[in-house]
């Protein structure tokens, strides 16, 4: 599955984002390949969510560049169409769960009208929501809404899926369902890049870690190494649960 053509790897070249005289992301250069689940960690205010938005193209860097290796092969528009993002608070349209997914598929424009319904039902089934397909998305529970948001993103079969604190406001049971869904999407060949403030979740899901502190990239290491032998004092303090400024 990992063999299919992809827009990855993603390279950030001295990416900087400043607003109101404050540098929120400070000269980050990194290359993220397609092979492993990447988790962005760091204390509150480190710039994790902003980094994801910069990578996804929702926010343009004030300096530096975000490059997709496959951009030339697919064209700029299609590069955007081969990514998806799940937000901390799911934004669902005021229509049925199923229609939320077929809407996204229609925008992506890769499937014919007749094929979208089947794909959407498949995606719903994969997160255990087949039984609520016709129900209005806005009346689902918090956990169901986030699973629907993930199903919507997964249905697009993106090369890369960004998830920004996907379980931040969910109870443990709902969080586990989300983590299962993330693993399944990874197994199906989609690159996962996510943020979380839950260290347990990071240990369960991360294969490599980007550790941010005050807008700077402090570490980019395999997960095992990061959790066992953090290289920077900031990361060590963060893992100990100390307050890191």
């Amino acid at each position: 599955m990992h063999a299919r053509a992809t827009i990855l790897p993603l390279s950030l070249d001295r990416v900087t984002y400043a607003r109101g005289g404050e540098t929120l992301i400070d000269g980050i250069s990194v290359t993220i390949g397609s092979s492993s689940r990447t988790v962005v960690l760091g204390p509150n205010g480190a710039g994790k969510s902003l980094l994801l938005r910069l990578c996804h193209g929702l926010v343009a860097p004030t300096d530096g560049a975000v490059r997709w290796a496959g951009a030339d092969a697919f064209g700029r528009r299609d590069t955007a169409g081969r990514q998806a993002m799940v937000f901390q608070r799911p934004v669902l349209l005021r229509r049925s769960a199923l229609a939320n997914i077929t809407y996204a598929l229609a925008l992506q424009g890769r499937l014919e009208r007749g094929e979208r319904d089947a794909r959407a039902r498949e995606a719903l089934a994969s997160v255990g929501l087949a039984h609520v397909a016709e129900r209005p998305a806005r009346v689902l529970s918090g956990g169901e809404q986030q699973r629907l948001a993930i199903a919507r993103a997964a249905a697009l079969e993106p090369d890369v899926l960004f998830l920004d604190e996907p379980t931040a406001s969910l109870d443990p049971g709902a969080s586990r369902a989300i983590e299962d869904a993330i693993r399944a999407i990874d197994a199906a060949g989609t690159k996962i890049i996510m943020t979380t403030h839950d260290l347990g979740q990071a240990r369960r899901l991360a294969e490599e870690v980007l550790f941010l502190c005050r807008g700077r990239l402090m570490e980019h290491t395999p997960a095992g190494e990061f959790f066992e032998h953090p290289r920077t004092p900031q990361a060590a303090a963060f893992l100990r649960g100390d307050l890191v400024a």
Partner: protein, 286 residues
């Protein structure tokens, strides 16, 4: 289940909107392509509001099949509507303005139709003591001396023009003489409503006065002066200026109104036994 309810609701809303739209669009179009021919008459509030047209027009339409659509406004505005070609004929009461209208080529062939008269109306208490007088000019002078409240139409209507003419004969300029003289800038009915509320004197046409319901404390004080004479005329809008004017139908109407039959119909219109309009066409024909 909820979804089905939602879908049903949604469809109902859409269906209602589309239905309303079709109904709405179809109706105005239908009104335009009326089965029977019609003419548009720009006339005055006094003729409309006195109920004369309601009495007269069904007889004409029944006989000829021509529908008459009346736009009732002040004489000044009625003539303006005719001038712009937005009516087929005008039926108003302001002799000199009508003659001017014809002289400028906006209309052709003015005919006298009927007359009624103006009456001076005021509060029962009659502070200026004009009740029973047959001299309208002296009555106005008495009102001005007492500075008793007086309501003027102030809207360039036929009645307003007649009132201004009387003030001129009285050699008075009430507008410059303090706030007892009020210009309302409104039609006969609204001006009467104002006068009733203020216990003011007012010059009104007899037809509107007789059919007016909200009289309050107002009563008729002065009538019968020759200078209160109110002549109505009818004029065809000049077809040479406005090619769309329905000349044939409009002439049919004018000829009927000044025919013995039309004149008799006018004479027959009464409110509480009182005749409102007195036919006096000289039967020239349009």
């Amino acid at each position: 289940m909820t979804m089905r309810l939602f879908e049903t609701t949604r469809r109902a809303v859409i269906a209602a909107a589309v239905g309303a739209a079709i109904w709405g669009f179809a109706a105005p179009a239908g009104a335009q392509t009326a089965e029977r021919p019609f003419i548009t008459v720009a006339s005055t509030t006094s003729t409309e509001q006195s109920g004369l047209f309601k009495h007269l027009l069904p007889q004409f339409t029944g006989k000829t099949g021509i529908e008459v659509r009346v736009v009732a406004v002040g004489t000044g505005q009625a003539l303006k509507i005719g001038e712009r070609g937005d009516a087929d004929l005008v039926f108003v009461h302001a002799r000199s303005a009508e003659e001017d209208f014809v002289a400028k080529g906006f209309g052709v062939g003015r005919s006298d139709v009927m007359y009624n008269d103006f009456v001076l109306v005021g509060p029962k208490s009659d502070p200026a003591g004009v009740k029973g007088s047959r001299d309208a000019v002296k009555a106005l002078q008495a009102i001005a001396r007492k500075k008793a409240p007086f309501v003027s139409r102030g809207d360039d209507s036929g009645t307003h023009q007649a009132e201004l003419d009387l003030w001129q004969r009285a050699a008075l300029h009430p507008k410059a003489d303090g706030n007892w003289y009020r210009e309302t800038g409104s039609g006969m009915g609204p001006a009467l409503n104002t006068a009733a509320a203020m216990d003011a004197y007012i010059l009104a046409d007899r037809g509107t006065w007789l059919s007016f319901k909200n009289r309050g404390d107002l009563t008729l004080l002065v009538e019968g002066d020759d200078r209160l004479f109110n002549q109505y005329g009818i004029i065809l809008v000049n077809p040479a200026r406005h090619a769309h004017v329905k000349e044939k139908e409009a002439r049919t109407f004018i000829n009927w109104v000044i025919s013995p039959e039309g004149q008799a119909a006018i004479a027959a219109y009464r409110i509480e036994g009182e005749q409102l309009f007195f036919p006096n066409a000289r039967r020239k024909g349009a």
